[in-house]
Symmetry: C2
């Protein structure tokens, strides 16, 4: 966690930077790497703010408005499903056609023995595609870089990284310092699609699932925000959705739709969103996400049927990956279990190693990418060139194999995509390594999973391919382009699964394609550590339910083994990026600390009726987002905690200049001055800023009555509560601020405020004398994740 903010002025010019403690303003956990940039992060607020406006809002909502609200949610889910399935379809089709043309052109040159020319074409087209992807990502939308799944997962946990999106010209921005921008709040999903298409087409070992999830989340956020200012009619319908809770739900549906569209796996996508991404879930949301993924499936099905008539380009089958490995009866016996267990153990070991290496490489890349724009491009180009050289060079090591007599497709494949590539071989022969490399990742997976091809590959070729996928996957992920992890993980797992299958050979009743499927499962279990969703996604991909018992076995073993070493890949990436992700369960040492131990800091309070100048001063000089409001004598008999007021609401008050000339409540109905809409959550980046508020000297001496705008019943905990117990409340309810009240009434009625950052082990470990950092490290090192008692 050695990430530091750029400098002092950064935190001053970014009042959105959401530290609650000035002393921690520049600590590591207040900023995160979004895309390749260091951005201030903000927490989301799922608490119901019970002030006068929200009460009024509840009371006045009639059946019609509730109907609008419910209908709108379903409508948005329908639209999300529709758009995401279209995107997924286009994405797939474009990759198939671009990569198809590239491979056919190269192959034809090879066939004409123009090897150097072929290499130059291959090399140049890959470089151009990579460069295009990096340029468009870095310039237009740096946050589109990477898988996107960690960002969306963090957002669903309550971490937002808002930024300022200003559309300057491409090349101007490229050489300026890139801005912070977080995806679910901006309309750069078109960038993500184009970037993802060119990155995947450029023979880099990167996937499309992550960018699809990110796209789904963006589409959901964008639809939820609506175009209220342009088209007035949407306003009245969308106003009820202007809060963090509903936006979170939409984004959860969007991310489920993303996986569903990437793999044509509706149930698997839903379960992935549920198991891996969402921090809060409930059965109403399950149903809506189910609806969304059903829409995705139906539209995809219709589009694929359309493509089957050959209207989708020379190489576009639009089939997505659907590796149909159905064989009428798969039977397996007890002696198939040892090799399957071996696969599980290997998956766990390789998976944790993969995560470890990826984490290290990503941290180095983060440093490089943040230096300046040129470095990003240089890095991506080096990776592309290196990849091209390896991919073109290594097949020469493989010896040529004669075409099998009973091959189901033409061998060698000439002028089209297929499983037998001739490469440098004489006619009637094929190069097995080139057959894997000179195809899209999807085709390589299909090839590895295929069942009637037991002797298609040599041991050495499979091993080399495994090495390529494993290491190039790690080195390709971190470049500033939309890159997914799912497909690289599946292809890597399938390659060593196939290898084990070849070793076992005829000793097993399982064919080698099924070993490849189980290998993919084991590597998914070892890296992503998902169980149910990985299982269902693979079953939906392979359309074979009879494999279920072995797949469950392999997933259980690989996850258990891998959990002994490190945590899942998305959590590692989130940590490397600096997102303050709130775990569902407390670390053991949190039971030793009370909340009173943690909140020792100067506390910024407001009085129920506060001087305007005071409010402005505090807002300008601090970066807090919530302030306790206190009533003191003579307003009340003794100091009383009235509630909690949010920065956004205070700024709204200042903007509307709802000032009083004397410090006495006027009793005027504030609902005449304000409406609920004024206090609705603004879209990311659109929030009012205190710098834009101008207050005259005369106004500074006036007063603000904060009572009607204060959340009068915030959640509170007593200072003697253990941090572990407070975390349960904080995490389960989804809070942004948690007020700490004193046990014994002798001081101020509020002791402090807990925020997300107070529960981060890294920030807090030094507070407790008995738990030094080294001891905590020892705890982490000596206790594997499955020894976590929760």
């Amino acid at each position: 966690m050695s990430i530091e903010a750029n400098g002092d002025d950064e935190s001053q010019t970014h009042p959105l930077l959401s530290s609650e403690k000035p002393s921690l303003a520049r600590s590591a956990s207040q900023v995160a790497i979004v895309g390749a940039n260091l951005c201030p992060i903000e927490s989301l607020d799922y608490e119901i703010s019970e002030n006068d406006f929200f009460k009024q809002d509840w009371r006045t909502r009639g059946t019609v408005q509730i109907f609008q609200y419910v209908l709108l949610k379903w409508l948005l889910c329908f639209l999300i499903g529709g758009i995401v399935s279209l995107v997924g379809f286009c994405n797939n089709l474009a990759v198939e056609n671009i990569a198809g043309v590239k491979f056919v052109v190269t192959s034809n040159m090879m066939l004409a023995r123009r090897f150097v020319m072929a290499f130059v074409v291959f090399w140049a087209s890959n470089l151009m595609l990579t460069l295009f992807s990096v340029l468009i990502t870095a310039s237009v939308s740096p946050a589109a870089a990477g898988s996107g799944i960690p960002e969306v997962k963090a957002y669903l946990n309550g971490v937002d990284a808002p930024g300022i999106f200003s559309l300057k010209t491409l090349f101007v921005k490229l050489f300026l310092k890139s801005r912070c921008l977080y995806e679910p709040s901006s309309n750069c999903w078109n960038v993500m699609i184009i970037g993802s298409i060119s990155a995947v087409s450029s023979s880099l070992i990167v996937g499309k699932a992550g960018p699809m999830v990110h796209t789904g989340a963006c589409v959901a956020s964008l639809l939820g925000q609506g175009r209220s200012k342009k088209y007035g009619w949407t306003w009245s319908w969308l106003q009820f959705l202007k809060n963090d809770r509903d936006r979170r739900d939409l984004i959860a549906c969007g991310s489920a739709a993303g996986i569903a569209a990437a793999f044509r796996a509706p149930v698997g996508g839903l379960l992935f969103a549920l198991e891996e991404m969402a921090s809060w879930w409930r059965s109403a949301l399950l149903w809506r996400a189910f609806f969304t993924t059903a829409i995705v499936l139906m539209i995809l099905g219709a589009l694929i049927e359309f493509c089957e008539s050959g209207k989708c380009g020379p190489f576009g089958k639009g089939g997505l990956i659907m590796y149909n490995v159905t064989s009428t009866d798969i039977s397996y016996h007890l002696w198939d279990v040892p090799p399957v267990l071996l696969l599980g153990v290997l998956g766990g070991l390789f998976g944790s190693l993969y995560n470890f290496l990826l984490d290290k490489v990503l941290r180095v890349y983060n440093v490089i990418n943040r230096k300046c724009s040129g470095y990003k491009i240089l890095l991506a180009c080096s990776i592309s060139i290196f990849t091209s050289c390896l991919l073109f060079g290594l097949p020469w090591l493989a010896s040529c194999l004669p075409c099998p007599a009973d091959a189901e497709e033409p061998c060698p494949t000439i002028g089209q995509s297929g499983s037998y590539k001739q490469f440098q071989c004489p006619p009637g022969h094929y190069n097995d390594l080139a057959s894997l490399i000179f195809n899209t990742n999807d085709d390589a997976i299909r090839n590895l999973f295929s069942k009637g091809t037991n002797d298609e590959f040599q041991y050495s070729s499979i091993l080399i391919f495994f090495g390529i996928c494993f290491f190039l996957g790690i080195f390709s992920y971190g470049i500033v382009a939309p890159t997914g992890l799912f497909v690289p993980v599946i292809v890597t797992g399938a390659s060593y699964g196939r290898f084990i299958g070849m070793l076992v050979g005829s000793h097993s009743t399982l064919n080698r394609g099924l070993f490849a499927v189980l290998g993919a499962a084991s590597f998914l279990g070892g890296t992503m550590r998902t169980t149910v969703s990985a299982c269902v996604i693979l079953l939906e991909l392979t359309n074979n339910l009879l494999l279920l018992p072995l797949m469950m076995l392999v997933l259980l073993v690989s996850k258990t083994v891998a959990d002994a070493f490190d945590s899942n890949i998305y959590d590692l990436i989130m940590k490397a990026k600096g997102f303050p992700f709130l775990e569902a369960h407390a670390k053991p040492f949190m039971r030793q600390l009370t909340v009173g131990d943690v909140v020792k800091g100067p506390l910024q309070l407001f009085h129920g009726i506060e001087k305007v100048g005071n409010v402005v001063h505090v807002l300008r000089t601090t970066i807090h987002n919530g302030f306790p409001v206190i009533d003191e004598p003579p307003v009340s008999g003794s100091p009383v905690l009235y509630g909690l007021i949010l920065r956004a609401h205070l700024i709204e008050l200042l903007k509307k200049k709802a000032f009083l000339s004397s410090p006495e409540p006027t009793g005027i109905d504030v609902s005449e001055q304000f409406s609920v809409v004024d206090f609705a959550k603004k879209g990311s980046g659109n929030a009012n800023k205190i710098q834009d508020i101008v207050v005259t000297e005369e106004e500074e001496n006036m007063f603000l009555d904060l009572h009607p705008f204060t959340n009068a019943s915030p959640y509170t905990v007593v200072e003697t509560m253990s941090l572990a117990k407070a975390l349960i409340l904080f995490r389960q309810v989804g809070l942004r601020h948690l007020l700490v009240i004193p046990k014994i009434k002798r001081r101020s009625p509020v002791v402090g405020i807990l925020t997300r950052h107070d529960f981060m082990p890294e920030d807090m470990i030094s507070l407790h004398p008995a738990w030094t950092r080294s001891r905590w490290k020892r705890w982490r090192l000596t206790s594997p994740r499955w020894l976590n008692p929760f």
Copy 2:
């Protein structure tokens, strides 16, 4: 909600009856119908009680103990999976053999034209099996009656109905008033299995899935409690599991295993537990449940392989239901959608009607069953006789059909189970209605789902069969025997699905078996209202993933239609039984009420150092389970809320007689007198009772220092918080007591205690003047469930 407790003495002799308010002691929501009896119910407590002992427990737990704890959890899951799969296997085998013998004997008599004799055999064997099931259930374990799913669902929501289990002889107990006994806490699962086998074998339209879930929950609970007193060695390992949180997790795994074993559907079972049963879920639990269901699947697979060699009785294929409807390519087009939509709509209408009727019938049955034991038996016998007459009589209405020339199995089937029953028909002919009726439900479903049999059934036979299943399913459920709902719902749905398929005929590319599958999906969606899990269970049952898009469509439509009328069947049953189920979301009117409005009742407090006589008196005269502890001058400067103490802990103090002679804390280390184990949650029914505590007059004048035993940091809310917002905390964290503190410090430091019952709309609706009962009813009537804004 018109269920009343039996009388005044009931609530006096049941101090475990968990009302927090004396005035509500005998209100409807304090008792529930468990089995056929009215039982007091108790809430479960998931809050971490932070008193000195628990703090000490945390601090002293070393890595070894954590390792024990984690290992034990996995071991228990393994055992649950193993036992449940064995039970499921035996259950299936026994039903296949018993029903097989019965049907073959009857068929042979029919073949010999001895129709009366055949009827008598059929009638008598059914009656005997039903009677056996009812007798064993009613006498040994009344709580085993019914599906069990509502009880387990309520338990997982935090509602327990503890009772006293005393093993008297069968016939003595039969004619006494049956005791209250809730399953997850007793070892009567053997009763459930036997009862379920005989009920299912007796040709009643009842299923086995519900009892299997209940069995899974029992096994889990029993294993979690362990046999600590008999085998000392288990004590030290099991002590960390002696709390409601861990028990809840185990029971969730057990219920997932139950469905997995009943249908051989591991992922479906897991999702059912997640979607329908569990109120709290987290990803660690998902993984453990996945492990459990994987174990179930593997052991079941091994056992079925064993049976394939013919060692499992004349009729035992042990195959469970696995309706393999794979046809290599299912294709469907746009014109298949209208009939599928029609199925969805029909499923919704039939489903809500089914729920409505079942609810009404169940309420009548509840009254009958509670009158006396004779009535239960009489009711069950009438149902059995009525069923036998219908099943034997109706096939005479069906005309005989000639055997198809291309039949895959012998036609007519003689001397074995099969799809073509001759019944009264001449040789070479079969009776299509008898083929459905004179088989187990599993075989009937397999028959309806079969694909190569387009002309096997006549319209009239299918319609009659639908009527039988629909109405007999409703009337059979409520008898005092273990009866599931899943299989009747599937068979009913399959029958009208097949009917629609026959109507559509060759206009559709889908065959009639697939229509039956979709019909089953629609009826599952219409009654249970599950989406993802119903979808996955059916896919696992039919082993056909290509059906997914249509199945999703049909489930979405049927659930939407049905939700417009009533709620899901398990919720209706829970309501009819009187379980205070805590919904995840607030009713709209709860936003209008503050917690201060709700807690107006006399509050029973203790002081930090309290007189023994006072404690005994309060415990004897109230039925509260939690008491606020207050420190007043001179102990503290002003009245301070010290915390909350539980009844169970107070009784433990009284039992150990940890008394002080003067009202001053002695400073003696209480950990010498007590250990953590003393305060561990006892198994249901084993809790200490205040009646068993004897306190002398001298001791009554002594004092108790409650401080070390009080939960010093309970969750609190301020009295002005809306009930809706308090519910979020209460439900999400899983509380039993929630303390309400005053906004302004002028009174006692605590205003009242909220419990589960305070959030029940039925109890509370009258409190708010603006929301009269009728207005609330109008709200419920005018707004279908899908208009619920959450």
